[in-house]
Symmetry: C2
Subunit: 168 residues, 2 copies
DNA sequence: AAATAATCGTTCGGGTACGAACAGTTTTAA
DNA sequence: TTAAAACTGTTCGTACCCGAACGATTATTT
């Protein structure tokens, strides 16, 4: 994954293909490294912690959100997890089939579906999350501890900016 | 996407479910915001720039790598783009069907497949990439320009750390 | 109260996404 | 040089992943 080409070389190639068109290479470096980093951490966690429990990334995110906020409506899970309602339906069918969550239609509002963990699901998360957090710790292990706060702030700022562009 | 729950509230809920088990909340904040940010930027770019050209995220990444480094071997594209060879095969079949790339077996090494853009593919990228870069610019528009360099460095460090954990 | 609009979760179709198994090619060992 | 090992890209099976269209429910308008 860690590209074998240098940043300089890449910039030269881009410029060669675009003539003297102005490109913002700093923005490009940030976003491309953002995707690389997210991909690497995700792959690492999927192949280690999550694989042991036979969970996909999205399945884990769903379980996590439900674990923290149950009972919780489907739309909240989708919004909190950053994927579509369509995706969520499929993943929840899998999780329900494995006996990790339950879905019940809300009595107050017939449009809503309330999601909860089963006892089995709660037991899994209680064991799984500390392992997952160990993996998160490893992923940032080479960073200066004092940088973590501002790093998270920068990431939050990017999220806010991108999300605000959503509706235009 | 931007979670409606505060960070403090989330931490309290996690701790309530784990008793006094030690959790690294700083690492958690970094990684969860990393995924949020990557997701938001990706969704934004997919819905705007890429949708206009009817391209998926991965399809764009493939085109980009080929555009810069053609002729390039399949394995390099997969490594550079951060996805599996199996995924790549499917995406390239789509792109070949749309007449954007060509695949030819290497004469020097019969195992390799060399990928190039067609004239149509090159024309598309020449128009598309500047638009894409405009989107990247927007995604980091609210950040201080002077922070971009160290931000990219932090992201690179996370990638290196996570990738080095890959083989254990 | 009746028509209209908004919201929610599901379904559908097509395109990723991955690990594992595979066949073909090249390299290495013996 | 022949057998074993390593490597590359494809196929297979299963599970996401999304936008669009849909039916059901609730809210808003008039």
């Amino acid at each position: 994954m860690a590209g074998q080409h240098t940043l300089d070389e890449t910039e030269r190639q881009v410029q060669a293909r675009l003539g003297d068109l102005k490109i913002d290479f700093e923005a490009m470096a940030v976003t491309s490294n953002l995707f690389r980093a997210a991909n690497s951490v995700r792959n690492y966690l999927e192949r280690t912690v999550l694989a042991e429990h036979d969970l996909s990334w999205t399945a884990f995110v769903v379980l996590w959100v439900v674990w923290i906020w149950e009972p919780v409506e489907s739309r909240v899970i989708a919004e909190e997890g950053g994927f579509s309602k369509a995706t969520l339906t499929g993943v929840m069918q899998t999780l329900e089939g494995r006996g990790l969550i339950t879905r019940t239609r809300s009595r107050k509002d017939g449009r809503l579906v309330l999601v909860k963990l089963t006892a089995k699901g709660r037991k899994m998360m209680k064991q799984l999350f500390p392992e997952f957090n160990k993996g998160e710790q490893l992923a940032v292990a080479d960073l200066k501890r004092s940088d973590l706060g501002s790093f998270a702030d920068l990431l939050r700022a990017v999220t806010l900016t991108a999300d605000s562009q959503k509706t235009f």
